[in-house]
């Protein structure tokens, strides 16, 4: 490894591709550190959306005219791009949804509704975002299944020792995030999948915080479902992906009924379309799919390894730099452990909301709150945290500005 030159990012030219980054906020150049909530979009994505609506706009899979053909081709080509990105065996396993949340709701309602029985167990973790928790609560209430959860250790890592105790012959599915949106912990998905499968359970991976930052190869990860959102990889909002193993998707009942998802409809009953259309009722977000594929192509051209190397370096630099800020604690894994460049911050005597307001006055955008992970906040014993999250376009200078502004916040409250 040491002899291989690491691909590097040309940050200046990369940043120029993101129009939203080229602005001042409150008189200072914007420092956007909320990419875990939503990433900024490169020009290529904005142009793909515009080109679709200006030239190819038509409904898909229906019309017999030129524009409908182009729209359908673009929509299905985008699916192939996603399948390649995920290393999915087939594009037919790639289902378009609104986002990670809808993908998980789809699996919980469709697979869960058809397969869970009273007393069955769903295994989640205390790290999960509400979107990988509440859909399971809903289906558990409906079916009588029971939710159990894996705890974390004091550095925010999943307690794999507990996993073995919690995985029993009653466990039907393990729902786990690829990476924590609040702490940045990268979960050992392959290991979890192996153990879950050995216990006879399926594995769903919430990839909302994984797809943009980590290698995603659903076959190598060994999972059964993988969900992610377009807007967190620099694509448009309102489009996302559910990947599932074909035999599972084939056996699952539809999630929503309507046009597009049927084969033959009679007044009393219908038969369903082939995969993936069985799960795509109604007019889909065609432009969104095209934009998401443009985002994936964009990162291909930039180089995913270079992005990952840069984000790794950022994480190490930030953890080091932030250690110098008086009274500041970074929750979660330290720099020697598997983590993304997402930092949950606790500053002595300063509430996260006040941190966010003070940083905003300096043009720095962070998130303050529970990060849709209330059980995790309770587990950590904090009502909320201030979260700074990076992406490929984040610079080392921006981390410096974050640290300086945090020091200033500490002084205001000293």
């Amino acid at each position: 490894m040491a002899t291989v030159a690491r691909p590097s990012l040309d940050l200046d030219s990369l940043r120029r591709e993101f129009p939203a980054l080229q602005q001042d906020v409150n008189g200072r150049p914007l420092v956007y550190l909320d990419s875990a909530a939503t990433a900024q979009r490169p020009r290529a994505v904005l142009e793909a959306l515009r080109a679709f609506y200006e030239h190819d706009n038509a409904n898909v899979h229906r019309g017999l005219y030129e524009l409908a053909r182009r729209a359908t081709d673009a929509y299905e080509a985008a699916r192939v791009t996603v399948a390649r990105f995920l290393n999915a065996p087939s594009p037919a396993e790639v289902v378009w949804v609104r986002g990670t949340t809808e993908a998980i709701n789809l699996v919980a309602a469709s697979w869960g509704g058809a397969n869970l029985r009273a007393g069955d167990e769903i295994l989640v973790t205390v790290l999960e975002h509400h979107s990988n928790l509440v859909p399971w609560q809903l289906v558990a209430q409906r079916t009588g299944a029971v939710l159990r959860s894996v705890d974390i250790d004091d550095r925010g890592r999943l307690r794999l020792d507990q996993l073995d105790e919690l995985l029993t012959d009653r466990t039907r599915i393990v729902a786990v995030g690829h990476a924590s949106n609040a702490l940045g912990t990268i979960n050992p998905v392959r290991e979890i999948a192996d153990r879950a499968h050995a216990a006879g359970a399926l594995v769903l991976v919430d990839g909302a915080q994984g797809a943009a930052h980590l290698p995603v190869d659903v076959q190598a990860l060994g999972c059964d479902f993988y969900a992610f959102s377009g807007h967190k990889v620099g694509g448009p909002m309102g489009i996302g992906v559910l990947w599932g193993r074909r035999e599972l998707l084939d056996a699952m009942p539809p999630y929503q009924g309507g046009g597009e998802m049927i084969a033959r409809v009679e007044l009393q009953q219908s038969t369903w379309a082939e995969l993936p259309h069985k799960f795509e009722a109604g007019t889909p977000n065609v432009a969104g799919a095209v934009g998401l594929a443009a985002a994936l192509d964009f990162w291909d051209a930039v180089g995913r390894e270079a992005v990952q190397a840069h984000e790794d370096a950022l994480a190490r630099y930030a953890l080091d730099r932030l250690r110098d800020v008086p009274g500041l604690r970074v929750l979660g894994p330290d720099s020697t452990e598997a983590r993304t460049a997402v930092f949950s911050l606790a500053l002595d005597g300063v509430h996260p909301h006040d941190i966010a307001t003070i940083l905003d006055a300096d043009g720095i955008a962070i998130r303050a709150g529970h990060h849709c992970a209330q059980p995790l906040m309770r587990r950590l014993g904090v009502p909320a945290t201030a979260r700074a999250s990076c992406f490929a376009y984040t610079t080392f200078e921006e981390i410096d500005r974050l640290a300086i502004a945090l020091e200033a916040a500490g002084r205001i409250f000293a």
């Binding site: 909301h353 307001t357 006055a361 303050a368 709150g369 009502p383």
Partner: protein
């Protein structure tokens, strides 16, 4: 804020008086067998407050609160609880209205002496997302007084 110096707007938000109430909150605690006991949560941020009042002959005799929150929500609660003692229910509701007006940028309300120390929070109006922090305690007060009126049938 440019480097080290807070902007005037930020300095107006984080005045000494507000920071003082945040760090040394007045009237934090509990009342035994209170006439008003209300729990309220700001769902967007997780801040919570429990507000308790002793109301005798229509006058607030004691006000106490517990909870977690940012400087703005805690300072607002601390100042509010201080101001409420000795006020009638009608006074308390009038103050609530006046405080809301100040949060909506009403400059007359921001100079209204009846609001006392709370006028220091006038700068919050420049930060619309923080107004709900300042309102947390007042929303609890309003809800608590409404329930009290229901219970007493007045």
């Amino acid at each position: 804020m440019t480097g080290n110096q807070p902007t005037p707007q930020l300095a107006a938000l984080y005045q000494e008086l507000i920071l003082d109430h945040y760090k040394r909150p007045r009237r934090q605690g509990q009342i035994e067998d209170p006439d008003v006991d209300i729990h309220m949560m700001n769902t967007s941020c997780g801040d919570e407050v429990r507000l308790q009042l002793r109301v005798v002959d229509d006058v607030v005799r004691d006000a106490r609160f517990q909870g977690t929150g940012c400087s703005i929500s805690q300072a607002s609660l601390s100042m509010m609880a201080d101001l409420l003692v000795g006020k009638t229910r009608a006074d308390a509701l009038a103050l609530t209205r006046r405080f809301k007006e100040m949060m909506h940028g009403d400059t007359d309300a921001a100079r209204d002496r009846r609001l006392g120390d709370l006028r220091a929070l006038a700068g919050v109006a420049a930060y619309p997302v923080r107004v709900k922090c300042a309102m947390l305690g007042w929303n609890a007060l309003e809800e608590g007084l409404r329930k009290l009126a229901e219970e007493k049938g007045v």
